[in-house]
């Protein structure tokens, strides 16, 4: 973040962008139940949608008021000041957060609108809108927060809302085990993130820099060069730890497994949280911390490699899925991999560019899928769809345009952003041909399986049953209008960043330049054009292949899968990664926890018996002593104790002896430690 030219303007507008959705959430959350009962769904929807729409308009105004390349800060109050550290509760609007804020509020507003139709008649209508608003609040805090601590608050907040919204229909969809897995996976990611923040915090403090806000950190980050943490260069350590967090949130290998399960939530939620906004938080975070990553090439290499691998790996899983939402989920994982590849080769602007276009076309794809599911009465299986093109023309058109966008067909938004990433992966300062190859192959596969989805759902003959066919209908206006808007954005959203090789001005890149670390790919326009041609050719052949398989010879896929059954089953079952995790990591933690119980139950009891035996011998020896001195006293006490003892029969299970024994063990250990018999902890 280099304050080139324009300085930082003070404003108090930003707080309203964040606050309005929170107010909406509180209003609907606490009063919604009564309002819904008395006045129906309309006032609920009005509050929910207006809160986000107003937030979008304010964001738009604030962005337009920014001086070119400048930034605005809204300092609300000093959140925390202890010793030398002062953390303000402040929001920052710079080009990077401008893009994010507009995308988040804009896409959210459309999805809120769509939800009115989708959730109609649901008992928990108010609840749904309340959570959705709460999510937007947390997401805005994440992208507008001026310091990494506020970003972390938003980070945990979106996670919590995501669980709440997945769980909206949780009971009748998924097994508890799936939820638990999602939970644990995200914990691992968060652990990395927390470790990263703390390491950053203390590394900076060591150099006398007591600030957590992004601009101050960007200026002081060079101090950390040469430091090491646990033998690793400090910057690389922090970068990789933060990336573990990003991998959890943005569903990268090996932590991607939770995202497909999250599809159990309502489809607009999948569109908003699990495609357009929350899952991109990891990409945003890396772009936000670009000042750090640019000085940590090792961390960047990890990000790029994981991103490329995820892009390719998830695309192959997309081949064999039959659930329309699962296909889209794996495609999201794959696209997130592409974004990570972008920021991982140092092309932060390109990564954010793809984040934006992806938000448009993926939201459009999910909402179209939702429209299809809605029309088919909840059916998500592609094998029971088909021929919907005529019945649902608007949905089809939206789906078609956004599929072209994701496939990277020239002129559509995805084309520009993806090729910007691929070009940087090849010719950027941290690029490598292998990264480019993985990315371009993933893109080609994406074109194939996305068109497979399109052909299976909208072409051919309808494979649904009679009953469903009769109810088949285009969705209501309130759902199709957002679809159209998003479809337009899917087409035109990329035109702000047409590369110079194609005669454009690459405006998006230059807009973001003041906010992210500089990067420039080096290579001739001719080379760039060749690479573009290769990726377009691959995409087109993917489409052609899909056409051949699913339109011309619909029996071919079945024959092929029959021939390569083992491979197909492997892919269909997502390489059994879920099962492997379940058997290893998840179980491991549980075993450790249970082991403590077993330890309590058996091991300590064993020791009790042993000591009991020793005690008996000691008792024999000291018996004469008792006989002479203590018996009288004991008899007096015993009579009183019998009554108590009868009540405390449960005590005789050995538990209390165990506890006392543990105390003795503890005392012995303490003495041993005190005498220096133990190592230093």
């Amino acid at each position: 973040m280099h304050e080139s030219g324009a300085g930082i303007a003070e404003t108090s507008l930003l707080r309203w962008i964040v606050l309005l959705p929170l107010l909406g959430a509180v209003w609907n959350g606490f009063l919604g139940k009564r309002i819904q009962r008395r006045f129906g769904e309309r006032p609920i929807a009005a509050v929910g949608c207006l809160a986000v729409a107003a937030s979008f308009l304010i964001a738009l105004r604030a962005v337009l008021a920014l001086p070119p390349g400048g930034a605005a800060v809204d300092r609300i109050y000093t959140w925390f000041g202890a010793g030398d550290l002062h953390v303000p509760f402040a929001l920052l609007l710079d080009p990077l957060s401008s893009v994010m804020a507009l995308v988040v509020t804009g896409v959210s507003a459309l999805i809120h609108l769509y939800s009115i139709g989708y959730m109609r008649g649901d008992r928990g209508f108010y609840r749904y809108f309340s959570f959705l608003n709460l999510f937007v609040f947390a997401m805005l805090l994440l992208v507008l927060g001026d310091n990494i601590l506020l970003l972390f608050v938003g980070w945990e907040g979106v996670g919590l809302c995501s669980y709440l919204l997945i769980g909206f229909w949780f009971a009748d969809r998924e097994k508890a085990a799936a939820g638990m897995k999602a939970f644990l996976v995200n914990r691992i990611g968060d652990l990395g993130f927390i470790v990263g923040i703390l390491a950053l915090w203390w590394s900076l403090a060591k150099h006398g820099l007591f600030s957590l806000d992004f601009r101050a950190m960007a200026e002081g980050i060079h101090l950390l060069q040469g430091d090491t943490i646990l033998g690793v260069p400090a910057l690389a350590f922090i970068g990789i730890a933060l990336f573990v967090g990003a991998a959890g949130k943005s569903a990268q290998i090996p932590l991607y497994v939770w995202l497909p399960d999250a599809m159990a939530g309502p489809t607009p939620v999948s569109a908003l949280i699990h495609a357009a906004t929350m899952v991109t938080a990891g990409v945003y975070m890396i772009a936000r911390m670009s000042f750090l990553y640019s000085l940590a090439p090792q961390a960047l290499a990890v990000v790029a490699a994981i991103g490329a691998a995820t892009a390719l790996f998830a695309a192959t899983i997309g081949f064999a899925q039959t659930d329309i939402k699962k296909v889209l989920a794996y495609s999201t994982v794959s696209q997130l991999g592409t974004m990570m590849l972008g920021v991982g080769v140092g092309a932060y602007a390109a990564g954010i560019f793809h984040l934006m276009t992806h938000a448009f076309f993926k939201a459009c794809l999910f909402l179209s899928a939702g429209s299809v599911i809605h029309a088919l009465g909840g059916e998500q299986d592609l094998r029971k769809m088909g021929g919907l093109r005529k019945k649902m023309p608007v949905t089809f058109l939206a789906m078609f345009l956004s599929t072209l966008a994701i496939a990277g067909i020239p002129g559509f938004s995805g084309f520009f952003s993806k090729d910007e990433i691929l070009w940087n992966a090849y010719a950027g300062p941290h690029g490598h041909w292998a990264l480019w190859l993985a990315g371009v192959l993933g893109a080609g596969m994406t074109a194939f399986y996305m068109f497979r989805l399109l052909f299976l759902a909208f072409f051919g003959t309808c494979r649904a049953d009679e009953e469903t066919m009769r109810h088949l209908h285009e969705s209501p206006r309130v759902m199709t209008v957002p679809l159209i808007a998003l479809a337009v954005l899917s087409v035109a959203g990329g035109w702000v960043g047409i590369p110079k090789a194609l005669g454009g001005g690459n405006h998006f890149h230059y807009y973001l330049e003041p906010a992210v670390a500089a990067h420039e790919a080096h290579g001739s326009h001719a080379l760039e054009l060749v690479l573009i041609a290769v990726s377009v050719l691959l995409a087109l052949s993917g489409i052609a292949l899909a056409y051949h398989f699913y339109m011309k010879k619909p029996d071919l896929p079945a024959r092929l899968t029959a021939r390569a059954r083992g491979l197909h089953r492997l892919v269909e079952n997502k390489y059994y990664v879920d099962e492997i995790y379940g058997a290893t990591a998840v179980r491991g933690v549980l075993i450790l926890s249970r082991a403590l119980r077993v330890f309590d139950d058996y091991v300590i009891d064993g020791i009790v018996n042993l000591t009991g035996w020793i005690a008996r011998i000691v008792a024999l020896i000291s018996g004469w002593f008792d006989l002479v001195f203590v018996d009288g006293l004991v008899n007096a006490l015993a009579n009183g104790t019998i009554d108590l003892g009868r009540r405390a029969r449960r005590l005789q299970t050995g538990a209390v002896q165990t506890y006392v024994l543990a105390v003795f063990g503890g005392i012995l250990a303490l003495i041993a430690l005190y005498l220096g018999l133990g190592g230093r902890a």
């Binding site: 928990g124 405390a648 902890a681």
Partner: protein, 492 residues
């Protein structure tokens, strides 16, 4: 040389103790005539105690350290009063629900409180022993207050047997220490026999560790919390812990005050540290790992309070500096609010089936939707317990961990951070049940006013500290951090 034996200052310093002790007696006597007025009497006693505290002098030392009233003890007494108020809020609805409203209950509670008051305002070993017993004996009775529930009886018995055991160990340690140094005032101890003194302090500490439920002296805690009536469990998790850590802070800062204070170090710092480190590591790890598999939420909170004691131990290890009194005290403030809040929710949700309390996590299914405020409040308490900003728990952990880093305890902090990340799992599991599960048998929810007041107060505390961790810029209210820092300045 010797301070006056009595005087107006000493009288004012004694007033808080007198108020609570006499109030306890009167409240108990009230049971003979108007047993339903117990709550009102207890509230009145606490209110007068607040006034007495406000008027108490800030530096009084009398009778060989038997009475030490300084800012430190005043801060801890204020915290204990807070914990007592929370317990009163929870008690009345629970007693009423179970048909056990009696003034003696409140009398016993106040007696226990008076013991805690004494515990945090003395450096005299004999007084500490008296205070410990005065604190514990009413609690033994209160644990078994739900007489039809055999688990309640079991809890009382276990607490009693093990508590007496630990008192004996403490007494043994105190005797050794007296033998070594020839005085029973911690502040006046000089050198003496080193080995005997060290053994004495170790045994003394074991007695405290037992009350603080530090591993491996913790085993009673889950059983006792689980069996005891929920308000009493809450009282033990908050007030007893606060009092014990106040005492530990005082004792350890004397024990480690080698150069800074004439009271010579009778605990070898180098030698004692590994022991404290291991206790810290074990306490947080065993607490958290055991909480993972608990289906009983009350038991889960018991293990969680063990884990929090482990974090607090970080502040007791001097490392390259001194004992982190401010960090521990600040954490206790945060801990008081979030734990009391969580117990208030539990109390509102607990019910008896066939005399036994049922508090398995599946009872919580769907509660978040049926009671939005309760659900939100519990979510915030749990998030705070896990240490996520912007809540009180985060800043408590932040101060403790940062202090520990500054004293060179990086390894311990890494373990603590790993532990708190782990803890998020079992805390949020409750939230999952609140919002994600459906049930055919929705749990009865008690909407009594007391629970709601407790939740509101706790929520206000958690969020207030979370959003304004130093209560900055409010006229009339001292900065919390400043308050805490000033309080520990009276320690050696």
């Amino acid at each position: 040389m010797s301070p006056p034996l009595f005087g107006p200052d000493i009288l004012r310093a004694l007033l808080p103790f007198i108020v609570v002790a006499v109030g306890a007696t009167l409240t108990t006597l009230l049971g003979a005539w108007r047993t339903r007025l117990g709550l009102a009497a207890a509230v009145a006693v606490l209110a007068v105690a607040v006034l007495a505290l406000r008027g108490a002098p800030e530096s009084v030392r009398a009778w060989e350290g038997a009475l030490v009233l300084d800012r430190f003890s005043l801060v801890f007494m204020a915290l204990l009063l807070g914990a007592a108020f929370f317990t009163l809020f929870l008690s009345e609805p629970v007693l009423r629900r179970e048909g056990r409203v009696r003034a003696e209950y409140y009398g016993l509670l106040l007696f226990s409180l008076s013991g805690m008051f004494l515990l945090v305002s003395t450096t005299n070993l004999l007084m500490i022993f008296l205070a410990l017993e005065l604190l514990s004996i009413p609690l033994y009775v209160l644990c078994g207050y739900a007489r039809e529930d055999d688990r309640s009886i079991e809890a009382a018995m276990k607490y009693f047997v093990l508590g007496s055991f630990s008192s004996a160990i403490f007494l043994f340690g105190a005797a050794l220490l007296f033998g070594a140094t020839g005085t029973i005032d911690l502040a006046a101890m000089h050198g003496g026999d080193r080995l005997l003194g060290a053994a004495g302090v170790l045994l003394l500490l074991v007695g405290f560790f037992f009350k603080a439920a530090a591993v491996p002296f913790h085993m009673w805690a889950p059983d006792v919390y689980d069996g005891a009536p929920t308000p009493i469990a809450s009282f033990m998790a908050t007030a007893v812990k606060i009092a014990t850590f106040g005492l530990l802070l005082r004792v350890l800062s004397f024990a480690f005050a080698a150069e800074a204070h004439p009271a010579a170090a009778f605990l070898d710092r180098e030698a004692a540290e590994p022991a404290l480190r291991w206790i810290a590591i074990l306490t947080m790890s065993v607490g958290n790992l055991s909480a993972l598999t608990q289906n009983n939420v009350k038991r889960m909170l018991a293990y969680s309070s063990i884990a929090h004691a482990g974090y607090l131990f970080l502040g007791l290890i001097p490392g390259s500096g001194a004992v982190d009194g401010a960090g521990v005290t600040y954490y206790l403030v945060a801990y008081l609010f979030m734990t009391s809040g969580a117990f208030a929710v539990i109390a509102a949700l607990s019910a008896r089936e066939g005399g036994r309390e049922v508090l398995t996590v599946d009872r919580f299914a769907g509660v978040g939707y049926r009671r939005p405020f309760l659900g939100l409040a519990m979510t915030i308490f749990l998030v705070s317990l896990a240490g996520i900003p912007p809540t009180a728990g985060f800043f408590g952990k932040y101060l403790l961990f940062r202090g520990a880093i500054d004293r060179g305890l990086t390894g311990l902090v890494v373990i603590a951070v790993l532990n708190s990340a782990l803890s998020l799992y079992y805390y949020l599991r409750v939230v999952v049940f609140f919002y994600m599960k459906e049930t055919d048998r929705p749990a009865a929810i008690d909407d009594a006013l007391g629970f709601r007041l407790a939740m509101i107060a706790a929520l206000a505390g958690v969020l207030w500290i979370g959003f304004m961790p130093d209560l900055f810029g409010l006229p009339g209210i001292p900065s919390l951090l400043g308050w805490v820092q000033a309080s520990v300045s009276s320690l050696p």
